[in-house]
Symmetry: C2
Amino acid sequence: MNRVVVLGVGMHPFGKYPQKHIKELANTAIWAAIRDAGVDPRKIEAAFVGNCLGGVLLGQESVRGQVILRHAGFKGIPVVNVENACATASTAFRMAWLSVASGVHDVVLAVGAEKMYIGDTARSIQALTMATDVEVAGNMGLQFTALYAMAIRRKMDKYGWKPEDLAKVVEKNSYHGSLNPYAQFRKPLTVQEVLSSRMVADPITLYMASSIGDGAAAAVLCREDLARKWSEKPIVRVAASALRSGQGSLLEAHPRESTTWLTAREAYEQAGIGPEDIEVAEVHDAMAPAELKLYEELGFCPEGEAVRLVREGKTGLQGQIPVNPSGGLCSRGHPVGATGLAQIAEVVWQLRGEAGDRQVRGRNGIPRWGLTQNDGGFVDGDTAATAVHLFQRLD
Amino acid sequence: MNRVVVLGVGMHPFGKYPQKHIKELANTAIWAAIRDAGVDPRKIEAAFVGNCLGGVLLGQESVRGQVILRHAGFKGIPVVNVENACATASTAFRMAWLSVASGVHDVVLAVGAEKMYIGDTARSIQALTMATDVEVAGNMGLQFTALYAMAIRRKMDKYGWKPEDLAKVVEKNSYHGSLNPYAQFRKPLTVQEVLSSRMVADPITLYMASSIGDGAAAAVLCREDLARKWSEKPIVRVAASALRSGQGSLLEAHPRESTTWLTAREAYEQAGIGPEDIEVAEVHDAMAPAELKLYEELGFCPEGEAVRLVREGKTGLQGQIPVNPSGGLCSRGHPVGATGLAQIAEVVWQLRGEAGDRQVRGRNGIPRWGLTQNDGGFVDGDTAATAVHLFQRLD
């Protein structure tokens, strides 16, 4: 297999853009990634485009990527449309990686774009419930906030997590988000503000939940041996790509039996490293307290010790293992089909030392190893798709 | 790159199945493919699932493949949902091929499933118009039958094609379909019946058009060096996979400038053969007369000579280059997200000599080389996705 690098990344800031078509959001991200890569756009051989809800929310059921790519000025190159619920963009990235790793393509584009804000929150939320088996869970009214609430309630009972611990995650991530020009929400929140916001599904309050938003993110990937032809920036290699569907129980699984752990272990093995090597991580906190659960499932701490990490500030910007420096899904935002590539963009910026005010400190200066974890959908009691990618700065 | 073979194929017969969920259609195809492959199902490492219209027609916008795979008894393996309008299943197959060619997986599943018949033809047809840029063509009411009508009218003007020639293609393919137990329509039609059926969009009459249908098709792919571990059947290799988006004009392009030609040429080069080597082909005749156009675009005859092929019976079952032995999209049926894999299944059966009454004769007995061509969508004046695959029987 060819070694693959991320040559460039780009985003359209996340937020609500009632005046912008999804094509415009994607166009901004695509060209930002191409400029960042320094690559001649005519060298791009294929595009893998992720979008989640365009059929039911925008009436663009088919060829969503072709419509986006054509608007961005591309013709003739193969476009593959990819979907995997909230893990859509990570899956598009994985397909792009696969196409270069295989030797079929040298330079490709991965895009994730979503327009969820259509002026009708009920319809947007209904569309999100279609990331379950609609014949089963969707029609029961079992919505994602409720699922997360149940999972987190179990952890509170088992490990003694307090409401303040959950809110502490939001305090940390909203501070990170306040430093991120791409973030949907830039107001730092206090533990007290989080706890006193409206209860959505006990124990999840409004400020603990990600919200409706629009946005796009993109990456240019290429063969490692071609990277220096275009870019003088630090080279960030895709050290591992792992994807699984859940086979256990999202609510009941022990951290070391969870789908995230199984996926992460596969990634760690591919890269030949362990969780202790990770210096920065972007993880799927669609409901912020889920981040605590993920510390254990990614191996960042032993079982039951997640709250210690956040109480002691270890996952803050200047902590030992900074998590969600972008602000995560609740602050940077979660336009579902774009999220995975926004995580990847953030990690690439961090590994290059380009993250500005929110730059994390690695063990020896700018971090060398980064991780992204992205979850999507809920089928038969577990996640429908969990993607873990590892990134390594080479120089 | 690893060499990849199609170890097994399976289908649910195409038709209208108001009593069956899409999961059941897919389940039948998946397990038929697994049994055909002889593979231990626990060895299947990943699935690439194509579906086109499930969001707007079935309310299953996300994780369509996970819902299908879970119903079929699979858990834990990665599932990637792929869409490319009517070329959806070919694209899912290409992603599956890529994953094995790259060395990431050894044995994978490609699935295409569609349920278009929901008892409301207007809604089904409206969903199909979403395979254009809905902001542009879709909202103009420019429907696919009209597009094909314009393209074919141009050819009639330029090359002197007669309405009888168009009907002759349907006569041939409906006879093929009458021999195919998987076909939606099994009544052989005469030229006169085709011409006297209702005019839909001049020159296309009702029997020249593919119709609303349900169905599923699947394939098991694996590394060539593992094939003999499970299967004693003739081994069919994926000799080429090519995918492009259109960059010209579907209506105006000279055959040798068409997207199908550009895609086919790429495939022929990959395989190191030419159109003269093809002994059986399944092509995208969503409107049957388009088959004539494709003869020229695939290089089966020089420009302007397509009608001669069909007038002389050269593309019939016992002809020199049999095209659409399955009955093609008008007779076998065209449940859009399943079609590409149904084409592939047919070619695999033909290359193995397992096609029963509709078995074609190759140059030296059972054919050795087969081709599939699958078109999807319409963006900015040309096809959104054209896929060409070449298959070679090894023994």
